[in-house]
Amino acid sequence: MMIGPMLSEARQAMGANRLRTFLTMLGTMIGVGAVIVMLAVGQGAQDLVDRAIASMGRNLLVVLAGSPTANGVRLGTGNVPTLTVADAQALEELSTVGAAAPILPGAAQIVYGAKNWGTSVLGTTPRFLDVRSWPLSAGSPFDDSDVRGATRVALLGQTVVKKLFGDEDPVGKTVRIGRSPYVVRGVLSVKGQTVDGREQDDAVLIPVTTAQRKLFGGQFEGSVRFLVARAASAEAMPAAERDMTRLLRQRHRLAEGVDNDFTIRNLTTLVNTAAETTRTMSLMLGAIASISLLVGGIGIMNIMLVSVSERTREIGIRCAVGARAGDIRLQFLLEALALSLVGCLLGVFLGAGGALLVSTVVRTAVVVTLGSILMAFLVAAGVGIFFGFYPANKAALLKPMDALRYQ
């Protein structure tokens, strides 16, 4: 049994009629291409979700102020000052909530030396870092005494550091935010973008009380725009949402039948829903891929049957010089396998190109993994062997005499 000469014979046979060989491979090619795109899109969506959830902080619940009903007019969220720092502290008492922090966002110009940069400033408490799973890369966080004293201290996001300090170490330096000087306590680690593409590193954290009293002033003393809370676990998310609603209704003294004056959003669910759409798309591609691979396999079988009958005389010659049935079977099986594997190789390129196209047109992340390529090759090899076996066996079972006399 000599694989070497058989492989070169397979190459010759495939090269003898290139158009036919190409058309035969087309089915496998498209099937594998679709498999690659499908897995790339699916993997891209999964990565996006994982990254988004990781950057948001796991099990995150956001409480937005507002959605009250005033004389039947529903105002939407964020317009009415109903949430307070005390609400955040109260939420932390719940067993289903791991941590909670208030957020009062705003925008301000921040200045260091000759450089300045406009950024978003979040007034919050030290618990924020815990809720968002956002460690510092340098320095130390401000603490509860800073919040009580409304001191002028700040934690800078990576983008802000880059814009103002370059390579200089900002910890301990003094920057100006608005009109007042703030001491830089620490630097936040890199966080990346949110799902909707917002740059999270372009931010400055200051104590919520400082933001309320000294930076943004405030038409509503003591109120914040929203709260963020981390549920104790993924399983506790629904319970946490229920507990938080009950607690906040109680604290806001809302009577039975009155609408909530706040809205709780479960961001993980939102992200997962977005990913679900992508997964549906990739499943559809998967269906196309399976059908195409099936049709491609039948195409290979068909062409191999034609090839066997065209080359009956050649089979006879090989038998006459001493080829065993197994040699003939292996030779045709190798040819079918070569057809499907070369088709697969072209399909991988097609799929990678397709995935690139999808990522630029639809603007979703796609990830072509080595695993998906290996899987495609395994499937293609399976298709080649499965659909090549019948023709190869037919060739092997030809009677030498009949094959040799065949015209």
């Binding site: 070497g4 050649e314 090989r318 006459a320 010089v321 001493g322 065993r324 049935a325 040799l404």
Partner: protein, 240 residues
């Protein structure tokens, strides 16, 4: 005749089953061919000489009787054992040359060695040597359709010889060749037979070709009608 024959046929019969019933092609053929013999089988069309050749070459199985090739009873051998026998013991030369059109001459000659499991470098060496022996060494990279019919038949002979068979079976080897080329090819067979003691069995309907042999077997209607030495060449023109 030497004690151990290469070919021993006893009461050999062959029938083809058709819709109209069994058609006998060979009837009670008894034949013994020893080492280094040069036998020409002649006979009119339909006399069964090609069928006999197929059976001798283990490409077809007899319906009755026994065929012993080099001491092996062919009737009890498996398909693969027959393939090995064709590979090691027999070299075929056909009327239509039967070269692989897509393979170059060297690969064509080397084909039996592929199935004999000979390593690539040795395969090349032996095939090249054999091509040089039939005078076509410099064409080894050519394809069969780039050379003449006579040259193709020489390539086929090189292929038949490459695995050192003891028996060459030639079925109308000169049928597609002109007279001069035929004489060259027959000269090659005679040389192989005389110099190396290879047994040559030849089917032909051409008396001039048969005249190169040492022994003549005449088949008529599936039976051996005549079997005897051919002492002098050009003995009587066309026996058929």
């Amino acid at each position: 005749m030497p004690a151990a024959p290469i070919i021993h046929l006893a009461h050999l019969g062959k029938r083809y089953e058709t819709r109209a019933g069994a058609v006998p092609v060979l009837k009670d053929v008894n034949l013994e061919i020893g080492p280094a013999e040069f036998v020409a089988i002649m006979g009119p069309s339909g006399s069964g000489k090609s069928t006999l050749m197929s059976i001798l070459g283990c490409l077809d199985a007899p319906s009755d009787g026994t065929y012993v090739l080099e001491g092996h009873d062919v009737g009890v051998l498996s398909r693969d054992q027959l393939a090995d026998l064709r590979n090691r013991v027999i070299g075929f030369v056909f009327q239509g040359f039967n070269l692989l059109a897509r393979a170059n001459l060297l690969d064509n000659v080397a084909l039996p060695l592929v199935y004999a499991g000979v390593a690539t470098s040795e395969r090349r060496l032996r095939a090249r040597h054999m091509l040089e022996r039939v005078g076509l060494g410099r064409y080894r990279a050519s394809l069969p359709d780039q050379i003449s019919g006579g040259q193709q038949q020489r390539v086929a002979i090189a292929r038949a010889l490459v695995n050192h068979p003891r028996l060459i079976l030639a079925d109308e080897p000169t049928g597609n060749l002109d007279t001069r080329t035929s004489q060259e090819i027959m000269g090659l067979f005679r040389q192989l037979n005389a110099d190396e003691g290879i047994t040559v069995v030849l089917v032909t309907h051409d008396g001039d070709v048969a005249a190169h042999a040492k022994r003549l077997v005449h088949l008529v209607d599936g039976r051996v009608a005549h079997d005897g030495p051919l002492l002098r060449r050009v003995a009587g023109g066309r026996p058929s």
